[in-house]
Amino acid sequence: MNILIVNSWLREYLKTTANMEEIKEKLSLCGPSVERVEEVEGEEVLDIEITTNRVDSMSVRGLAREAAVILNQFGFKSKLVDEASEIKGKLKLAVNEREKMELPKITDGVGEEVLRRIICAVVEVKPEVATSEKMARRLRQVGENVHTAVVDITNYVTYELGHPCHAFDYDKVMELGGEIIVAQAEAGKKFTTLDGEEHLTVGGEIVFLNPKGEIIDLPAIKGTANTAVDEKTKRVLFWLENLSPEKVRFGSMSQAIRTLAAVINEKNVDPFLAEETFYRGLELLISDCEGKLVSEIYDYFPYGEDWRAAEIKVEWGLFGRYLGIELEKKEILKILGDLKLECSDKGKELLVKVPSYRADLNIPVDIVEEVARIYGYHNLPSKVDYAVNPTMKQPEFDFALENAMKNYLTGLKYWEIYQYSMVSEELAAQGSLPIKRQLKLRNELTSDHVYMRTSLIPSLTEVWIQNITKQGKQELSIYEMAQVYIPKAQVDKIQSYKLGMVSNKPYREWRADLEELLGRFFIKNVELKSLAEEEIPEKARLNLDGLSQMAVITAENARGEEKKVVGYLYEMGEVLAAELEMGAIVELAGTFPVYQPLSPYSAIIEDLTFKLGKNEGGVGRIMERIEKLSELIGRVELKDIYEQNYTWTISYLSREKQLETAEIAPIRKEIVEMMERELGAELVGKL
């Protein structure tokens, strides 16, 4: 949360020799981060980020207190001027006993765990009085609207000291029954906030009720219209309550009312601060609104002085353990003392008494942090001197392989794409499961990112289509490596890592890409088999537009011991899309092949062309059958296709002797006979 701090206002609480630039720099190094200094109405205003745990710094005085300690550490003589705590004794009742106004009856219906403090009094004010020019300017400088003098005072003291407060119209409260009952709201109760917005309780919010059960305030968050002060208000019930932060947050979040009061109150603001803020507000109501205190001061504080007298024991050794250097005890005690942390040295331990406003300090290391940041992180050395004991890697991922694959795909003219993991309903429908069975965002931001994609292909194809036309390219190949999400009850099993590829390369070229890509990791015997829809597992069955064929891709590891499905191919007209399982690839991949001894003899290589009659089972199967005909057939490669004519390059090799041309004649004959007999294929040319 950010707070704007006006220079002159800050300097009412902070006497220092440092200028604004120096305050900005030093504060950022050791405390709250000053994001910028801006000039507003002729004065410097600091924009400061206060971390959520330091609600005590969320005010002019709170920041001055922090700044005084830090600036002193850098050698700027600085001091907190704290007069707010001294007002209490100076204020007197302005009327005699008989004229005294009666306070409304206050009933605690929630208990001390929730209602930590209420402090209030009635002040008679002059309704026509306007806000002082100084106060109005400061409120504008911090971005607050200027309202009536009474409302402005409540905002002003909230900014100055840090505890939100409220002004009721006393007469309205009395007309509504003269009682304020602190209660948990039932569900479905209507109320209207002071700016005219209508709300309905969800149940469980802390509310103030009148005897009829009507809501007359949403405490610690926002006032309601029925008890709010207006320009006619003559008697103000000036009021501060301190509620449990969880309850404030619940009310604020469930009603979506995020006022400054709510943001502060939900962060565990100090109940002691309520008293100081109350008296400062009272002082201003009296001085600026020609006001008179006309009631007793009501102060309900069930915990009283017992509230958070926290003590933390810190082993002296803990400072060195975190800082990596040894500080002298004297130095540690000086820093903690400056921070108003009462310390006593108990030998091995240090006993630290924490002031009530530092609710962020709870465990020993919190104290270490205080010392470290004021000492200055910039004063600690920088080193990497621990022993390097690398931990074991995750077996399911291989980042070196992923990087190498990406580099290799780049060489094969593929473009890498990064897309959102969430897709539109339209793309989700092209995924692998019915849309109702897909994971869906409950609070999507835009309609194009709603479902967790079950496949990379639909969105990748969309990118391909968008780019091929725009770029005026004849050929385009793209890929993405990312997770897909298939619902499972067990969360860890939902994601699987895939490589999606979309290309319009001709099939044989595309297949060469695939085989080279896998072959680089010594994955071999890549096979594709066309499948009927029902043969494809549900998670791989995509509903792509224009899908004409699906095929399963299998491959083996280098030793040929393991064969796995590595992915699926989807044909959509001229577009070929494949989704590969990175998990299977990682399992099959190796970093070396099984070495084949080199033959000292040279191969005899020849081309044979056949005119194929029928092509049962595909050319791949035919080649397998040729290979199996003889031990001496080394490799069979498809060289060329022309209409129905297929030319194969066949190499013959023996590991025992140099083959003569005559020796391969019978094998050649066998090939031709097999082709004729079983496939009706006719040799082009003569033996």
Binding site: T51, A372, A387, P390, K393, W415, E416, A482, T661
Partner: protein, 324 residues
């Protein structure tokens, strides 16, 4: 004519001393017609290829060196992948092992185990996407992780709560936000070191190492106080500006690249004892450091890169990607 003589004739043709037509006409004189046919085809193919190369301008004198390069298709690796690989390499030098933890995770690992109970206001800072799981409708705690810190406790558990832990978790994160500096999906990396006697000086050492390697030898890191629920103490990390070297000024004028001398890049801290406990590690014996920040921002701070809208990384415009 023997096959050997025919081969010699073929060599002459290839050397340009004889015409291909001669080789063709004498084919019928060779006894081993099959072999001679093969030789002839090879020579013919070779000459055709030479002709094709010649058409492309090969083996001719370069008369004009200003001729542009031939147009050729290329592939491209996404800049985020390039940045990730570099980050992985830099941390590997000092013993960090890269891991990948789930993007879709439970609220427990994304928040609760990180010392953020369900109603904690600190959760507001992560604009979190929640996910419905049709296979387990009762599961109301699924989120798209808003930070790679969800891997911290997971990593401790993966290593069976046995330090040392030296992790660099690089992955996708998601937040409900969208403007020039925020995208719904982005990338982060989280580093984690747990061992005996790990302290703040080590964190500074790791950050300085990264700053030097990623941005250049003159760049330094600095840590400033901050608050995270999962670290204590917590820091914000700044890297010094490579242009003004942390001074905020170039000569007498304000540095336009950084404004203050430093770039704020991420968060860090010493792991909170409760987080170590959630990972089954005794905070009285071990301590740890953790840091993490966004890859897009880290990458776009590189000197001279000049990308000012990170949404471009995810528009998949080839004109953009083709520059990397």
């Amino acid at each position: 004519m023997t096959i050997g003589e025919y081969q010699s004739l073929a060599a002459e043709v290839l050397a340009g001393k004889e015409k291909i037509a001669v080789l063709q006409s004498r084919l019928r004189e060779v006894e081993d017609k099959r072999e001679a046919g093969r030789v002839f085809n090879e020579v013919k193919k070779e000459l055709e290829e030479r002709e094709a190369r010649k058409e492309k301008g090969a083996a001719t004198p370069i008369n004009d060196v200003t001729l542009p390069a031939a147009k050729r298709d290329k592939g491209h690796k996404h800049p985020i992948s390039q940045a990730m690989e570099e980050i992985e390499r830099i941390f590997a030098q000092i013993g960090f092992v890269r891991v990948r933890h789930p993007e879709l995770d439970t609220d427990y690992f994304a928040f609760e185990s990180l010392n953020m109970p369900p109603t904690h206001p600190a959760r507001d800072e992560w604009e979190t996407f929640f996910v419905d799981n049709p296979d387990a409708p009762e599961q109301k705690n699924l989120v798209l992780t808003p930070h790679t810190t969800n891997g911290d406790v997971r990593e401790m558990l993966r290593l069976k709560s046995q330090p040392p832990v030296r992790m660099i978790n690089i992955g996708r994160c998601y937040r409900r936000q969208q403007d020039a500096t925020h995208t719904q999906m982005f990338h982060q990396f989280d580093g984690l070191v747990i061992d005996k006697d790990i302290n703040i000086t080590h964190l500074k050492g790791v950050l300085d190492h990264f700053a030097r390697e990623f941005y250049g030898p003159d760049v330094r890191s600095r840590i400033r106080p901050f608050h995270f629920q999962f670290t204590e103490p917590s820091f914000e990390i700044d890297f010094s500006c490579h242009l003004c070297h942390g001074t905020g000024k170039i000569g007498e004028t304000k540095c336009r690249f950084c404004k203050s001398g430093w770039h704020e890049v991420g968060g860090a801290g010493m792991i909170h004892p409760n987080v170590l406990r959630a990972g089954g590690i005794d905070p009285d014996v071990y301590s740890g450091l953790a840091f993490g920040w966004g890859i897009e921002r880290t990458y776009t701070l590189k000197s001279g890169l000049n990308i000012d809208d990170i949404r471009q990384f995810y528009t998949n415009n080839l004109d953009f990607l083709g520059q990397f």
